[in-house]
Symmetry: C2
Subunit: 210 residues, 2 copies
């Protein structure tokens, strides 16, 4: 399998687990938080600065608006003029491009689909699920208190959308950003992995248009 696979996912949809199982089945590296550590080492930032980067996307945006800063237009005036969050994003993006250049892998989150938009052989996946399924996973697998689960799911998705919509040009969760989008609770985690593999196999047999 020659593809690099990016996975974007709603909170609690099982997207991370699907990505990990997919990487295992394909025998290729899997990156999520590992990526953060790698990025931290590469850039010299402390790892702790990376940990809540998604949480900071909104305040970073507000800060940028207040300061009249555009994260992209600003690059030419020097790295140090960017906010800490933007510097972290750029450092992470470098790592994503580096691991992608090394060969097939699975990368979860961190706008990887957008960062790798000009790479060949990249397939983008989106995983979502019914709210009740996500609530169950949040309570039973992430050990969230039941009365906080709904709120946390909504907030986590908002953070992901904010983070993506701030850094990327497309919109998080729009079907045409992804080769394949799957509602995971309808078929389960393992079958979702199977669906992705089948899609990748079909794609390998054809000459992709991009």
């Amino acid at each position: 399998m020659k593809n690099i696979i990016t996975i974007s996912r709603q909170y609690g949809s099982g997207g991370r687990e699907i990505g990990a199982k997919l990487a295992e089945k394909l025998g290729i590296p899997f990156y999520d938080n590992k990526l953060i550590s790698l990025a931290a080492k590469e850039s010299g930032f402390a790892e702790s600065a990376f940990e809540n980067v998604e949480n900071k996307a909104t305040s970073s945006l507000l800060y940028s608006i207040a300061m009249g800063i555009n994260a992209y237009g600003n690059r030419d005036i020097g790295f140090t003029h960017l906010s800490l969050d933007d510097q972290i994003y750029l450092a992470q993006s470098d790592v994503i491009r580096k691991v992608a250049a090394e060969g097939p892998c699975v990368i979860v989150g961190r706008c990887a689909d957008y960062v790798l938009k000009d790479f060949k052989n990249v397939v983008h996946i989106f995983i979502w699920a019914d709210i009740n399924y996500r609530k169950d996973r949040a309570i039973n697998q992430y050990h969230l208190p039941a009365q906080k689960a709904d709120e946390e799911i909504i907030k986590a998705d908002k953070r992901r959308a904010n983070y993506y919509n701030y850094h990327a040009t497309g919109k998080w969760g729009k079907a045409e950003n992804y080769h394949l989008s799957i509602r995971s609770d309808f078929i389960g985690i393992d079958n979702s992995v199977d669906c992705i593999i089948r899609y990748l196999e079909f794609g390998e047999r054809r000459t992709p248009t991009k």
Copy 2:
């Protein structure tokens, strides 16, 4: 297979062909323009009034705004107070619900996913494709002049989005509206049909959460 399948699709993505082949493979009825004829007969409107209903969605919206009319809030003051387009939409929706009540089938377009949102055993599919693939199909299969293809594709998608966003509460093309969303040009029409069937089979073996 117990499911009713709705298919939403970008213009030129092959969504209609995928729907037709899917229905044939599953041995269940297929509805697209047939539905319009059915609706026309049911409601007593002339078929010609239905033909360009998507084209009229925008003007209908402007008309509604100008008249201070809300298509939904207005239902209780009588069918005849609605614009012609809204009346056609309601007549079509009745037909969609009627054919869905009869059993498994494939329905392409016409906001069927939204119309059937409260039905059980409905699976929603979205088909999209790379712009070059859609352009090729527009020229070679729908016989559009090459110099008009780009413009027509963009306009057709805008009409579909307008039509959907006016009548439904969600947003056309948002991944979480659909159980499965597929980029068709990457794997081809027949493989897209295969992917949908696999997804449906996996779903049948589980107890769906909804």
